[in-house]
Point group: C2
Chain length 352, copies 2
């Protein structure tokens, strides 16, 4: 607390990310990182990148990366915006598109950074309740709003909307921006990217952290109509001219180029997820249908917070959020098969 | 322009950085980059960094880097804040400390990003005129304000305030934050860091881009009282949990460790600057006393904008800003001795 803070700062309740212990002594199933290293091409980039290049500022528009992403998604260069992680991209999108006179809408159980952005940019919001099975009902978003944002699949539930549902949401919501946060889409949900062509108010955000195994690199992007992208550019260029460093650009390009490795990692994670779900159910957990690289679970007669602490004592980190409706739930990242087996073994002991 | 933009976006006039041509065919003396590569230790970091580490999120607090910077400056860890370039650090500082009810103050000729931040965060400001020799008169800042920000040395003039002037500014300004932007301080100005101990309202910002030859890396930091740093943390943690990627942290650490190389590059740049100033004066240019890695010049009977374009045609980029009071001036980055010689040769031809 300081007399020199702006009024805003006193009011902020910052986002709290999952624990990131630096000793890596835990089996870490708490922040949805990939159990696999990034593409082998990345190590080659590190081995050949000339440090000399770092004396120059990067391209402020990250042109090569934008072009590669545009080609990958079948869009124009002017439909792509890149940033320092999808959290930065989302922050700019809140300020550029969602800072409106009418409250914006997002699910009551969703990415807990959304209300934090709202506080940062003084945006009013309404939380729309998920149904009893923790599903988003798009018809509940049929009301006046300053914008809509939701993850697909949703976090921390992992439950995906169909493309048809997203299309219906867009049909009924033409006068404000709709942001679909696809941080986890590669693990099994349908992307909304094909809807961009017909919906000038649709912004899709993506991350390199999860499905490209590059959480440590901080690279995210947004896709949408060129006018929406220009709005993001205007905010970005009023905040930081060069958010993406030269190394991150080169590494991002190498990742995009290695489609086989990307698909292979996803296949492995999806297979591990299905086995993990089976094993958790055998232990008596209720699991929600996940299209992500994590599973959201609860046990009918065990306290979730206690399970979280007991697992931590056993050297395994998972995520416990607490709060209304989900204080009996845990979010568990899909690790390697060995990590999942260790988790199941630890849980079996704890539940005995 | 889009109906989906927030009102704010319509009003923004983004910062325009110096040209960053990607073909590198120019002699680039326009964005104050170093003519020298970063420390050889950086190439070694790239050669040994395990890409595997990138699958994990970085430490959200960049603890190792914070500790190294704190030790380097003789401060506590809680007095250091790191970010994705000093532009990001400044952006957060504007929102955390300068967003006040009373207008903030900065020089009329200064870093042109300051009014852009003000627009982004709806901060009123007054520009305080430099004197006729383009010097900051600290007594002119003796008036009610919501905060003061100024670069030392100033940009684009290169003129430094003495530590005594900064101390006087702080004595007369105890009820609002004072930010000293030391992006260029290593090239010959006195740092305000020793004043931090006695001034809880002083924030000093720094960059790895110029004196550490790492513009392409995007690393900057702020130093100040722990309460000010906490204010920055609160904004950062409401914006992006992990602004500094794992590679940037490792590279920054290696740069801090190689003090000899750092000092050697600075010595060479300062020597080149003195020669460049002599040569420019011989060509009839008026030069302002520079404590930075650039010189600010004007020619009594040549149009600066035309000189800028003629130099560009000759393959040399310098910076022409235009605007009130400085439309007859050019800002020229101190390059290698060969680059400076090429500039002098080109100017000699143009001035014939």
């Amino acid at each position: 607390m300081s007399q020199y803070w702006s009024k805003l700062v006193h009011r902020l309740e910052p986002y709290v990310p999952g624990e990131q212990p630096q000793d890596q002594a835990y089996i870490k199933l708490n922040t949805n990182e990939s159990p696999y290293p990034p593409s082998p091409a990345i190590q080659r980039v590190l081995g050949t990148f000339a440090a000399e290049n770092l004396r120059r500022y990067p391209d402020p528009q990250s042109g090569d990366l934008v072009t590669a992403l545009a080609a990958y998604h079948g869009l124009g260069d002017d439909q792509v915006f890149v940033g320092n992680g999808s959290d930065e991209v989302l922050a700019h999108a809140f300020q550029a598109l969602l800072q409106q006179d009418t409250p914006i809408l997002f699910p009551d159980i969703s990415y807990s950074f959304y209300p934090v952005y709202c506080a940062l940019y003084r945006i009013d919001f309404e939380r729309i309740a998920l149904d009893e099975a923790f599903r988003i009902r798009v018809d509940d978003y049929r009301r006046g709003n300053g914008g809509v944002i939701l993850p697909n699949p949703n976090a921390p539930t992992g439950i995906a909307l169909t493309l048809r549902d997203i299309a219906r949401l867009l049909e009924q919501n033409r006068s404000s921006a709709v942001i679909i946060d696809e941080a986890y889409v590669d693990f099994g949900a349908a992307t909304a990217v094909p809807l961009i062509a017909d919906h000038p108010n649709l912004l899709v955000t993506r991350s390199f952290s999860k499905s490209r195994n590059l959480a440590g690199l901080r690279l995210g992007y947004a896709l949408g109509h060129a006018d929406l992208i220009e709005g993001l550019q205007r905010v970005k260029n009023s905040f930081n001219s060069y958010p993406v460093d030269s190394l991150a650009s080169s590494i991002g390009l190498a990742s995009i180029d290695d489609e086989d490795y990307f698909q292979d990692c996803i296949r492995r994670i999806v297979a591990s997820r299905e086995k993990l779900v089976t094993d958790l159910r055998q232990l008596g957990f209720e699991t929600f249908p996940s299209s992500a690289n994590f599973v959201f679970v609860r046990h009918p007669d065990r306290n979730a917070e206690k399970l979280y602490f007991d697992l931590k004592s056993a050297g395994i980190l998972v995520r416990y959020f607490g709060g209304a409706r989900i204080d009996d739930c845990l979010r568990i990242t899909v690790g390697s098969d060995d990590e999942c087996a260790a988790l199941i073994s630890a849980l079996a002991s704890l539940l005995k």
